[in-house]
C-alpha cells in the first residue's frame, strides 16, 4: 500500500500563494475527500501531489521519495489522475482511449501485452463501459464520458488515484455511482483522493475529509469531525441541516449564514 506524505507544502501559481503550510499523510483503505470553497486550493493540492506543480517550499513524498524527483514513468505507474473536465482532442474510440491508461507500463515501441489487455478489460468492466468500446469517446453523454474517463484512470492500475471533481456535470444517479466506484476502490486498498464540491456526497461517501480554506488545511478527520457547524459557517459561510434517511446520514446545505 502506498503512502503520500505532505510536509510544510507551499505552492504558488505565478505570484499568488495558493497553498501554505500543508502537512498531512494519506494512505489507502478509505476514501479521502478534499473539500473547500472555490479558490481554496483543492485542485492545486491535487496537482502538487501528482508532481505537476513544483512546490515553493516543503515536499510531497511518495513512499518516502519526493514526487518531483521520480522518473516520470515510475510516478505514472504509482499515481493515476482523473482531471477535472477531462478534454479529449481527437475522436478516439472508447477502447483506444482506455488503452492510453496503459502507457506508463509500455516499453518504447512495444505493443499491448496480455496483462495490458486484461487491465483495460477490467477497468471497462468495473465502470460498466464494455458496451461502449467501439463508440467515439467524443460523442458520449456526460455520464458515459465520466465513466469512460474513470476507466482510463483505473486502467493504469496504480496504487493511488487522484480524482479532481469527478461529479461535475453528472446527474444524481451517476454521481452516486461514481462515488460508490471510488469508495469501493479505496476500501480495496487503493489510495483514492477525490476533490469534491458536494458536501452531501462528501459526508456520505468519504471516510476522511480534508477541508481547505484560502490555501490552508483547516480540518482533517472523519466527516463528522470536519463538517461541524462552526467550520461550515467559517469556511463556507453556510448553515446546514443534518439528519438521516433510511439509515443514511445526510448533510444538506440550508442557507447562507
Amino acid at each position: 500500500m502506498v503512502t503520500i506524505r505532505i510536509e510544510a507544502l507551499d505552492v504558488a501559481l505565478g505570484d499568488r500563494r495558493v497553498l501554505a503550510g500543508i502537512d498531512t499523510e494519506m494512505t489507502g483503505g478509505g476514501l479521502i475527500g478534499v473539500i473547500g470553497p472555490n479558490g481554496a486550493g483543492k485542485s492545486t493540492l491535487a496537482r502538487a501531489m501528482l508532481g505537476l506543480l513544483k512546490p515553493l517550499a516543503g515536499r510531497v513524498l511518495l513512499d518516502g521519495a519526493e514526487v518531483g524527483t521520480l522518473r516520470p514513468a515510475d510516478r505514472a505507474r504509482t499515481i493515476a489522475y482523473l482531471p477535472q473536465g477531462q478534454t479529449l482532442h481527437w475522436p478516439l474510440s472508447v477502447e483506444r482511449l482506455v488503452a492510453l491508461g496503459r502507457m506508463p507500463h509500455l516499453a518504447p515501441f512495444s505493443r499491448l501485452s496480455a496483462a495490458d489487455t486484461a487491465a483495460i478489460e477490467a477497468a471497462m468492466a468495473a465502470t460498466g463501459t464494455l458496451d461502449l468500446r467501439t463508440r467515439d469517446a467524443t460523442e458520449l453523454s456526460g455520464g458515459e464520458r465520466a465513466r469512460v474517463m474513470l476507466a482510463r484512470a483505473l486502467a493504469v492500475e496504480a496504487q493511488a488515484l487522484i480524482a479532481d471533481e469527478p461529479l461535475a456535470s453528472l446527474d444524481p444517479s451517476h454521481q452516486m455511482e461514481m462515488m460508490e466506484l471510488l469508495a469501493e476502490r479505496a476500501r480495496a486498498g487503493t489510495l483514492v483522493v477525490v476533490v469534491l464540491h458536494d458536501l452531501t456526497m462528501a459526508a456520505r461517501f468519504c471516510d476522511r475529509l480534508l477541508l481547505l480554506s484560502q490555501g490552508r488545511l483547516m480540518a482533517d478527520g472523519s466527516p463528522d469531525a470536519v463538517l461541524t457547524d462552526a467550520a461550515l459557517a467559517e469556511v463556507y459561510g453556510i448553515t446546514a441541516w443534518r439528519g438521516a434517511a433510511g439509515g443514511t446520514p445526510l448533510l444538506v446545505p440550508l442557507g447562507r449564514s
Binding site: R75, A76, Y81, T87, H89, W90, R96
Partner: protein, 334 residues
C-alpha cells in the same frame, strides 16, 4: 485486441507506398525532354545515349529523390505538429516555419554565405525555422484555443515572406522577382545531386526525431497534465519536436523553397482511415506526403502553361480548401 476501427496497418502503409512508387516512376519517365520509356530504362541500366543518361541521373533522379524526401518530411511534420498542438490546422507552413527557413536560405544564398561554406545554406534555414517555431511551441502550452496559435503563425509567415522580398530586393540579383516567387512558392526544377546530399541527412534526422514521439502525441490527446501523469516527459518531447521540425523542414526548404499545405492536406487525407490516434497517422502521412508531393511535381510538368508552373501553386490549390473547411469548423469555438 481487435482494432476498434480503421484500416488494417498493412493497407494503411501499403496504399500510400504504392502511390509513392507510381508517382516516382511517373516523375522519372515524364519530362520536357520527352524521352521514350524504353530509352530511359536503357539509360538507367547504364547503357544507351549518354545525353539521356545525363538527363536521368543529373536532373530527373535528383528531382524524384527530392520530391519523395521533401514530401515525406512535410507529411510527417504536419502530422506530428497537429498531434502535438492538438490542432488540425497546424503544419510547418501555416505556422511560418517554412517561410522562415526559406528566409534563412535566401540570406545564405544571396549574401554569399552559401558560397563560403556549403553547409551555410541548410544551417541558416534550420536556425531560422528554429527561431520561428520555438516561441510558437512555447506559447501552445499556455493557450487552449487553437486559433491564437494559427494567427501567430500567420504573422510569422508574413514577416518571413516580407523578409525574403526585402533580402532579394537588396541583393544584386537582377531576377529578384522571379527568385522571390521560387522561394515563397517552392519548386523542384533543375535540382542537382548536390541538393539531394544537402537535404537528405537533415530530413533523415528530422524524420527520426518526429517519428520517435508517436506515443507521447497519443497521450497529449488528453491534454498536457494528463500526458504528464501518464509518464510523458513533455519538456523532452517539446525539444525533440522542435529540433526535428527545424532540422527537417529547414533542410527540405533549403533545397525546395517553402512548399505550403502538404503537411496540412496529407494528415487529413490519412486520418479518416486510421483509429484517429496521432501516432497511427504519423507513418502513413510520411509516405503519403512523399507520394503527394512527387505527384504534384509530375502535375507541374503535365499542365501546359507558358512559364513553368511552381510546385507551391499546385499544393496551395489543393490545400487552401482543406484549410478553409477546418477554419470554418473551428469557428464554433469563437
Amino acid at each position: 485486441m481487435p482494432p476498434a476501427r480503421g484500416t488494417p496497418p498493412a493497407l494503411l502503409i501499403g496504399l500510400p507506398s504504392l502511390a509513392a512508387i507510381l508517382a516516382a516512376l511517373a516523375s522519372l519517365f515524364i519530362g520536357p525532354a520527352g524521352i521514350p520509356v524504353a530509352d530511359s530504362l536503357a539509360a538507367l541500366s547504364g547503357h544507351g545515349d549518354p545525353i539521356v543518361r545525363a538527363i536521368l541521373f543529373e536532373l530527373r533522379l535528383p528531382r524524384v529523390a527530392l520530391g519523395l524526401l521533401v514530401g515525406a518530411m512535410l507529411g510527417a511534420g504536419g502530422a506530428s505538429l497537429q498531434g502535438y498542438l492538438r490542432n488540425p490546422l497546424a503544419e510547418p507552413s501555416v505556422l511560418g516555419a517554412s517561410n522562415a527557413a526559406a528566409l534563412g536560405a535566401v540570406v545564405a544564398l544571396y549574401f554569399g554565405l552559401a558560397q563560403a561554406h556549403p553547409m551555410a545554406l541548410p544551417l541558416l534555414a534550420i536556425l531560422a525555422a528554429l527561431a520561428a517555431l520555438a516561441p510558437l511551441l512555447g506559447l501552445a502550452g499556455r493557450s487552449e484555443s487553437p486559433l491564437g496559435l494559427i494567427l501567430a503563425g500567420i504573422a510569422v509567415a508574413t514577416l518571413a515572406g516580407a523578409g525574403i522580398s526585402l533580402a532579394l530586393n537588396l541583393s544584386p540579383n537582377p531576377f529578384a522577382a522571379m527568385e522571390i516567387m521560387s522561394w515563397l512558392l517552392g519548386s523542384l526544377e533543375d535540382r542537382t545531386p548536390q541538393h539531394v546530399w544537402l537535404a537528405a541527412p537533415c530530413i533523415a534526422v528530422g524524420l527520426a526525431l518526429l517519428l520517435w514521439d508517436g506515443r507521447a502525441l497519443d497521450a497529449l490527446t488528453l491534454g498536457e497534465d494528463s500526458a504528464r501523469t501518464l509518464g510523458i516527459d513533455l519538456r523532452r518531447v517539446r525539444v525533440r519536436m522542435l529540433i526535428g521540425l527545424a532540422v527537417g523542414v529547414g533542410g527540405a526548404v533549403a533545397v525546395s523553397g517553402a512548399i505550403g499545405f502538404v503537411g496540412l492536406i496529407v494528415p487529413h487525407l490519412v486520418r479518416p482511415f486510421t483509429d484517429r490516434r496521432p501516432s497511427s497517422v504519423l507513418i502513413p502521412s510520411t509516405i503519403a506526403g512523399a507520394a503527394l508531393l512527387t505527384a504534384a511535381d509530375v502535375a507541374v510538368r503535365l499542365i501546359p502553361t507558358n512559364a513553368p508552373l511552381k510546385l507551391g501553386v499546385v499544393t496551395a490549390f489543393l490545400g487552401v480548401p482543406v484549410f478553409v473547411f477546418h477554419l470554418l469548423r473551428e469557428r464554433r469555438l469563437w
